[in-house]
Symmetry: C2
Subunit: 485 residues, 2 copies
């Protein structure tokens, strides 16, 4: 077992991001490969972060009146194919149950790749009057998409997510909901993951199959590639017309509802690990870290006294009502060497470490060491600890965000010519801001020649008078381009 | 919409339990039928109760060091069939994915009907040394079993549950875990659902496919049938031998681990609804009720004053740190009639109702009315409310439990002859305690002739000298028999 935390075996993030990532995800015990190709196990340390996201996100949505529910995993194929763009978009990724209870099924069952059809079939049954609106339901569940190339967390055959689905009486109200959900995703990324994101609308070719418009938050990974972090779809009346979801207005008139759906998945955790980690392993922001402080006893002659003091330190550092609910633990397998346990706190990305030996016991002090190099060690008396750690964790969280923010800012470039565009995509990568005519053929050519796709048009984009970076024809808006995960 | 809460449409529990049940589940908006036969939607009001169970249960298991994780939905068929009894038991209930991404799969995928095989395949990879034990992991997920006859909550093609899976170095430790989990289920039923249960071990024919022994908690439904409420399996070394899960002892010796698994599902909610409901609808115990107090404004000339006062009452009744975390709401659609809203609080089984009209505003009082007839109305001054409601809710919870306990006690009978046994099963039903020789043929005959199965041998059963109720041969233990859901 000792070799699991052998630093020699750890790949360097600076040398090969992809190898480093897989290595760290496995070594920090965030996840493991499962028997079916492309599937993975969320191990307790990784799943605890998702539980934290669930907790935070549930508070946000419940405050807004969104209620949790659960809809079936199986969607009849005959129902799924009712919306044409929807089935076209998802068809290559479907897993189908064809045998149930030993018998071949007449109508195969789609294992949900998203729940619009199954949920809205029910909405059609439940919505009758303006009084039934808005209908705001979210569910936390598992999703299956038959991906060809898979990658732990970032792209797997099965993943976990939340999907919110609302029906409203007006398009305006639905659009407001779309942007509210998008802002919740911004908060998860910026305030919890310490990852700055760009908010905006996707191009026609990149939008959700069956939707009217797709909004997303996009983050930048260390290799200069973008990660689509969460999406919020304005579905217009596309689905309500197909499934006949009508309501009676106060005036008596019958109208189709306006809908939206929005999802954040465990994919986002992949982004979290990629952005902050370093050559020594994972680095977790305090707000989502399952363990916020690891107390590491230095064992020797005075074991009992040291362990007793560790317990006192633990109690002093614990705060039930913390904004940082991660555990304070006397860390690791005490039969392992001191050095091994220290490495383990690093690989697992625990924000704060407190090493306790006979000297600390005698002096009644403790020293906080930090996982990020931007913080210097802090020595304090045990009697003075109360209430101090919260502020320190805030500082760590802020510094992590600032560092990621600087990286993002440095890697948003404006390309003045297509030559420059290609040159950037061939070297540093990152986001490129360019005018684009919004023609799908320019978009396709750029992708073919540079691997960069349109990521989004920023929410605050203003119409200007520019020229398309590819064809040179008049273009109204600046778009963000990047290679993407 | 008004007809949804039309009492005329409500079936009587006393006349036909099954019709009443389905009717109440639909009308209280706990669940609805979904497009695929045998599947259902957990609507927000029903799902909120499950969220409450999750919350309570997570606290219990985490305190004991069990960690949550997530394992894949899909199990390769080739892996699933490795344990012979396991595949034999589950084979008739499997849903199989045979097509993925448009291609036929060589090895079909089993949609998990339980996760022993997929989890233990990973355990074999993770467990090497005594230091890795015990390994205690739980997951909350969705399960698919191809049931022929389905029933909302109680038996559906897909259901939600938690499944805990532990590996230990000794059988003794594993057995202790089995009983600890069983006691958690007892707590959920007795302390939260207000349903008394009997704890014990199942017969050979009723045990889990592939396990060594199965323990369960059994509850009694109003029609005299038993509901298996939660099961905890001692798996012995059956799975560790098939999947080669070995660990090295301190002594250096290699041994197979001892395992157990235990599950509580959304089926239990069906029991909750069946036990406490009455002719007016659902009756929910305060500890799991999503809404604990419904404030019902009596609207008329003084709407504004009444609504303002309702808000004050709401604030006075709310208690963030309550053992009864259900919401206090100003209830219902205020455009609906007063009578309609009252009926709605009844159908939804809300434990406490507070009707507020101009008189209450003037006198600064409120009256608590209760969903259960065993409580009498309580008039109090608004200024005196603080802290009082917790105790009252405790009283409601206790009275509900006592009533159910009395029903259970009255319906456990000892049959002195097989004639008496048959007569009881043909009339009142309930549990029958009888000596049984533990021979599978007597068990099968009794089932064939009376529809009663062996439910369990009580945990505190003591060996005696009796005669089998069926064959008259010597029998050591008294067993519980009942017809079952």
């Amino acid at each position: 077992m000792d070799k699991v935390y052998d630093k020699k075996g750890l790949k360097k993030k600076s040398e090969n991001l992809s190898d480093w990532y897989t290595n760290v995800v496995l070594k920090a015990e965030l996840a493991d490969y499962a028997p079916v190709r492309g599937t993975m196990v969320f191990r307790p340390y990784g799943y605890a972060i998702w539980e934290r996201v669930q907790d935070v996100f549930n508070k946000m949505i419940k405050k807004d009146g969104v209620e949790n529910a659960y809809f079936p995993l199986f969607i009849p194929y005959s129902l799924f194919k009712k919306e044409k763009e929807h089935i076209e978009g998802f068809s290559p990724e479907l897993a189908l149950v064809t045998i149930g209870g030993g018998e071949e099924l007449k109508d195969p069952l789609v294992v949900r790749p998203t729940s619009e059809m199954i949920m809205y079939e029910m909405y059609a049954k439940w919505v009758h009057s303006w009084r039934d609106l808005p209908l705001k339901i979210n569910q936390w569940n598992n999703i299956v998409r038959w991906e060809k190339r898979t990658y732990l967390f970032l792209r797997t055959l099965e993943f976990l997510w939340q999907e919110g689905h609302c029906a409203h009486s007006t398009h305006k109200e639905s659009e407001e909901m779309v942007l509210r959900a998008l802002d919740w995703y911004r908060q998860i990324y910026e305030d919890y993951y310490a990852i700055p994101v760009i908010l905006g609308v996707k191009s026609e070719s990149e939008k959700f199959a069956g939707g009217a418009a797709t909004y997303s938050v996009e983050a930048l990974m260390p290799d200069g590639k973008a990660l689509q972090g969460g999406t919020s779809h304005d579905l217009g009346q596309n689905f309500s017309k197909v499934l006949d979801i009508k309501f009676q207005e106060k005036s008596g008139e019958n109208k189709f509802v306006w809908q939206n759906s929005w999802g954040l998945s465990t994919r986002s955790l992949g982004g979290l690990f990629l952005v902050h980690g370093d050559d020594n392993g994972l680095v977790l922001p305090p707000k989502v870290a399952p363990i916020k402080v690891a107390i590491v006893p230095i064992l020797g002659k005075k074991d009992n006294e040291v362990l007793k003091y560790c317990q006192k330190v633990k109690e002093a550092l614990e705060n039930e009502n913390s904004e940082f609910p991660g555990k304070v633990t006397i860390f690791g397998d005490l039969e392992k060497s001191y050095g091994f346990r220290i490495s383990e706190t690093e690989i697992k990305g625990i924000p704060v470490r407190v090493e306790i030996g006979p000297r600390e016991v005698e002096e009644k002090t403790l020293t906080l060491s930090f996982r990020i190099p931007e913080m210097t060690k802090k020595l304090m008396r045990l009697s003075e600890v109360g209430g101090k750690v919260e502020g320190i964790l805030e500082e760590v969280q802020r510094k992590m965000f600032e560092k990621a923010k600087n990286f993002l800012t440095e890697n948003i470039r404006e390309a003045k010519s297509y030559e420059e565009f290609k040159s950037i995509m061939g070297s540093t990568k990152g986001f490129i801001k360019s005018y684009w005519c919004e023609g799908p053929s320019c978009e396709a050519k750029i992708k073919e020649e540079t691997k960069a796709t349109t990521r989004l048009k920023s929410l605050d984009a203003k119409a200007g008078e520019g020229k398309c970076i590819y064809c040179g024809k008049p273009a109204k808006f600046i778009w963000y381009f990047a290679q993407a995960y």
